[in-house]
Amino acid sequence: MARNLLSNRNKLNLFLDLALVVIFVCESEMRFTGLRNHELFGLAFGLIILVHLVLHWRWIVTITKTFFRSLLHQSRLNYVLNLALFLDAATMVLTGIVISHTLGLNLGIDTHSGFPWERIHILSAELSLIIVALHVGIHWKWIATQAKKYLFTFNLPGHRTTTNPVSQPANPAITSSEG
């Protein structure tokens, strides 16, 4: 199962992104999770974002190299939005680590020095909802296609399934526009 998932990049991306969204919407509501879970989910969110970036590294490098060649291409808007999301998420996770109370991570930073760590964390978290929503919205076609393939595939009698995950190539080329 895990091997099959790893061999199919689109499937892996879909499930990883799904995990990111679920963690994000839950941990944004701290009263729902409680402080301890909020901080644990925040760390998990940061780690999954790193994996997400690694999986899309080729896209990032390609667009960074060719950014100014065709400014009006859709991927440029995508790139700018992703950059904003990355900076915002990094701010959110790092300030979250600095002000954390239950993780036991002492970074030696004085959180009572007057610098608004907590305020920056809260504002970046609130901003991230808008950017994540735009990010998901821009990729809705990819999400719909992949969800139909891997989440809503029903083997009804008499119906031919559109996807057989076992027959996926071992290392398919990245065909999605997912950034």
Binding site: L35, R36, A125
Partner: protein, 145 residues
């Protein structure tokens, strides 16, 4: 076949938009609907040097200002932005690890907001895609690899 797929996608989009509208009405009826864009003026105020408490001229009012002061574990307090549902990003969750189902409306709001923005982009993308297709000059296909 392509026509059928395209029609199916349009029907799927319409169903999705209807679900978003209905769930939005349901969230509003339960008092969980608010405007998350109020964060933008706050960030502008923070960046420009004023702290951004509403009506305070950049100074932090006693007791957290107009909003409900949320006491964090460190004793720090913040002002909830106007219109935001209670609990969004607030550090008043305590140290417990129990799930507070009474706050689940806030989670649903987050899901709904993502879906609502997606619905808006869906609606905009159809006419925009049509216009762009008309205006765009024919050019060679991009190779990414």
């Amino acid at each position: 076949m392509t026509q059928t797929r395209s029609t199916r996608r349009v029907i799927g989009s319409i169903i999705f938009i209807i679900i978003v509208v209905i769930s939005g009405v349901a969230l509003a009826a339960n008092g969980n609907l608010s405007n998350p864009f109020t964060v933008i003026p706050e960030i502008s105020a923070l960046v420009s040097g004023t702290v951004g408490f509403p009506g305070a001229g950049g100074e932090r009012p006693e007791g957290g200002g107009e909003g409900r002061p949320a006491m964090g574990p460190s004793g720090g307090e913040r002002t909830r932005p106007e219109g935001r549902p209670e609990g969004f990003g607030e550090r008043d969750g305590g140290n417990d690890t129990t799930i507070q189902w009474s706050a689940f409306g806030g989670v649903l709001f987050n899901v709904w907001f993502i879906a609502a923005v997606t619905a808006v982009i869906m609606i905009v993308s159809y006419p925009l895609g049509f216009v762009v297709k008309r205006l765009r000059r024919p050019r060679p296909a991009l190779t990414t690899s």
